[in-house]
Amino acid sequence: MTQQPEWEPKLLGFLCRWCSYAGADLAGTSRKKYPANIRIIKVPCSGRVDSLFIIKALRLGFDGVLVSGCHPGDCHYLTGNYRARRRIAVTKKFLEYLGVEPERLQASWVSASEGGKFAEVVSDVTDGLKGVGPNRLFSESKLDGTEAKAGS
């Protein structure tokens, strides 16, 4: 591991309350182990996650963002996850073009009964982030605490 042992990636999870949030609960109640790096924000639907939230999260210093919603077809609001899919796909591709490591923005379908899958997704994403290292994208300002030398 290239990073010092004590660095732990900070992951922000937007979980849709009908499926993924319930899945996370299930993972908890059924004692599934998953890394504690994730901080969870409950959203009514994965479609509620605006790309602005993702960029602001990266700007504030999160190392990665996970957006998780119901499987296509299960959405409580019928089309929310379809919209999320288009928006996340466009955002992911655009960020990769700009030079942001792909591991920083992940998305997944986790239904209310897939506690195991949720635990697996969180650990995969966390390992991905460990491989990529801390988020130095906006590092010159104190916003994420790392006051690198102002190079610009």
């Binding site: 602005l52 700007r59 030079g99 942001v100």
Partner: protein, 316 residues
Amino acid sequence: MEQKLRQEAKALLEHKKVDWIIGFAPGSLKFTATPLITNDKDDTERLVINPFMVNNLADFLTGLEGRVGIVAKGCDSRSIISLIQDNKLAREDVVILAVPCPGLIDLAKVERLVGKYRDELDDISRDGDKVTVTADGQKKEFTASQVLFDHCLACELPTPQEYDILLSEPRPPAPELETSGQNKAKLKETPPAERWRFWKNELSRCIRCYACRNVCPACFCQRCFVEETEPQWLMPIPRWQDNLNFQIIRNIHVAGRCTDCGECERVCPVNIPLRSLTREMYDIVGELFKFKSGMDREAQPLMVHYEQEEAEDSFR
């Protein structure tokens, strides 16, 4: 073509078919044209068609009430269609005076090729694919693909599909995607960290004049997220982090609405290659969802519609 335009425009105003006419009048500097927005029929005498009608006039549509007659090139007409699909405009409120566009000359390219500033040039004339630039009495010749705007080289719709009056013979599209996409292709070959540093460096020059947003017909929000104070997404200061985030979100917001008219890159006073961002988003949207903004009158706006199976690989 100019004479026909002036008669049509004057008639539209006289018969009260439209309340406003938007077109181009001669610019006050060499090799320029300036937008003309008027409801006075005598002004239509100043309407002009010249190779420097670079503005995308669709941007003015959202600011006017009543019916509007608008001079539209291919990319402008696509913006009009996109605005109609976004319910910002009713088709019957717009009279489109279509101008088949031969592709416009990028004065910055001419300056680099000739080594002189644009106001030191005597004349720029074009005959089909041959462009002659005269400066200090000498004539220099260039091919169109050397001096046209990048976005004109990539133009897929020189003649508006949707129009009310066609002002001259339609022109078939002849896109030269490869030459027009050079900068972006070069950028995509560099490693990610270097690309990010490239944008960090470019956006350090930005002074947040918002010309790129205000000139864009796809940017029609009443209240832009950048001016939001509660919550304050971005600081109003021209720091590269906030400038870059502004461009990232602006491009995501205009995904599926941007018709690659290239105005944002042209107007940037500090020459930030913004089209390398907007064209990339245009291509992403084309690749992922086969969506070309403003080309298909019946299409649903990109982010409103969805297909059962698409973009599978972006979700685990």
